[in-house]
Amino acid sequence: MFILTFLRQTWESIKTVLLPDRYFSWLTVIYLSLFSWLMSLLGRSLGASNITVGIMTTLSWIFLAVGIGWALETNQVKLFGLSLAPWVAGAIVCIFLFGSWGDNWLQPALITWPLISFAVVAVPNLLSWELQYKKPPAPVRQQLVLLFFLSLLLSSWFQFYFRIQNWLQAYPSLVADTVEDSNFVYRIPGQTLPLSAGVTHLTEAEMIIKAELDSKPWPWIERWLLNVEGQEQAIQRQIQLNQQSSPEDDLWRFEMQPFSNGPGYTLELRAIWTGPTAEESGYYLEKSCQVMPVGQAPAYGSPTPGSVVPTQWARVTCDLEVPRVTGRP
């Protein structure tokens, strides 16, 4: 008995929440949206044509946008004194319009979002129920003009954000730099910094040098080092060829400087950044490689000891770390 009354009471309270007082209300529209969504699911499971399913989904999205906009409007949900309804409805319309665009859907969706929200506000003011143009009163016209240019400004801000991302894609090394002094951008703390392209350039140079010098007879090394500048240019050209062409590659200049180090040499490989940077005097990345003579051939042949002077071979080892140095070398 008790359970029955409890169930009835619960049902009554559920009914008051779920059933609209009048049919002309936002809840009806949300139900319409749910209904058309279920119908689209049903259509898909029954193998209906794409057009039918498409119409059903579109209807469900439109009903969802209208219903949620209506709900926020009637309940007067506000943020900082501005009504949220057109923005949320505009966002839903944007997700519906651009959500199926694949990977890059966020950019057009965000850029058009303020403009579509403006349209959501403007259309009821400019069109009557018979879809005819009507002239709103002067204060409303003033509000609409202000709102239009405000939404254009918001859209420009989004566009500026995406333009900055384009820059950073073209010049990834810019991300690694500090933007503390900027008047425009802010880096949200806790982001991981991507690897600078200069590091890959130096790794590439290391591979080239190892291929040319490692396990070669020592006189060959001496001859190779006589023409450091020529080798520099050759390596630079090789790096440019091997990298995928990005605008940033032209801004890294490769330099190489040999120092004598005991019996062998230390090669300082430098990637010098010639693009925009926060550092007053620029910066460069440095990787040092040791080219050392080794007494024995590493792989093959058994040198006859004592008979002749043993041929010296070169071994190249490079440091793993690539320190960033301020200034110019």
């Binding site: 950073l168 425009f184 951008v185 880096r187 806790g190």
Partner: protein, 200 residues
């Protein structure tokens, strides 16, 4: 961690630009509203609305102009813009560094006069859109209405027409003067604020 992934995807956000621009817009709107109110004898609310409208027009059109022009500039000049936007300094090794002061001054002068023109046009369009005290463009002259010459006293009519003419022209010129002064004032204050920020 999806949150950190999301943050890493966001990259650099122009939050400072948005904050500074909102602040400068508020300053410009307040100053221009004062000037417009004094020159055009408008109410407080109307002058603020007019100033807000013309400033939002020029700001949003300025963004569109910047975003489309920036894509067309040569790479070296774009690098200077990137350097200024990200690091608040110009790259001294860039080939454009010598021409840069000239470019900036020319761009600033062009920006001043284009914003002035757009503000003036925007204001007159806005006034016409709101049906408020439209500036009478064509004054009725004696030749255009010969029919009334006989019925009304021609001397009085022409004298009233003549009286009306300088008034309307002064009305139009008061618009141009008011917008010019407002624009000059807001530009001056904004440049001073930007210089203060540059030195700080």
């Amino acid at each position: 961690m999806p949150i950190t992934d999301f943050l890493a995807d966001l990259g650099l956000m122009p939050l400072r630009a948005i904050a500074f621009q909102s602040m400068l817009l508020l300053v410009a709107i307040a100053l221009e509203a004062i000037v417009l109110r004094q020159h055009l004898r408008l109410g407080y609310q109307t002058s603020v609305q007019y100033a807000a409208t013309i400033n939002l027009i020029t700001t949003s059109l300025g963004w569109i102009a910047f975003l489309s022009l920036e894509a067309l500039l040569p790479w070296a000049l774009r690098q200077q813009i990137i350097s200024y936007v990200l690091f608040n300094r110009f790259d001294p090794t860039n080939p454009w560094i010598d021409a840069l002061p000239v470019v900036i001054v020319v761009a600033a002068i062009i920006a001043f006069f284009t914003t002035y023109w757009f503000k003036l046009q925007g204001l007159s369009l806005l006034v016409r859109l709101l049906d408020r005290e439209t500036v009478p463009r064509v004054t009725v002259s004696v030749e255009e209405s010969p029919r009334y010459n006989s019925t009304r006293r021609p001397v009085a009519w022409s004298s009233s027409a003549r009286k009306q003419q300088p008034e309307t022209s002064s009305r139009g010129s008061s618009y141009t003067l008011a917008v010019l002064q407002a624009n000059a004032l807001s530009f001056t204050v904004i440049v001073i604020l930007l210089l203060l920020r540059l030195n700080a």
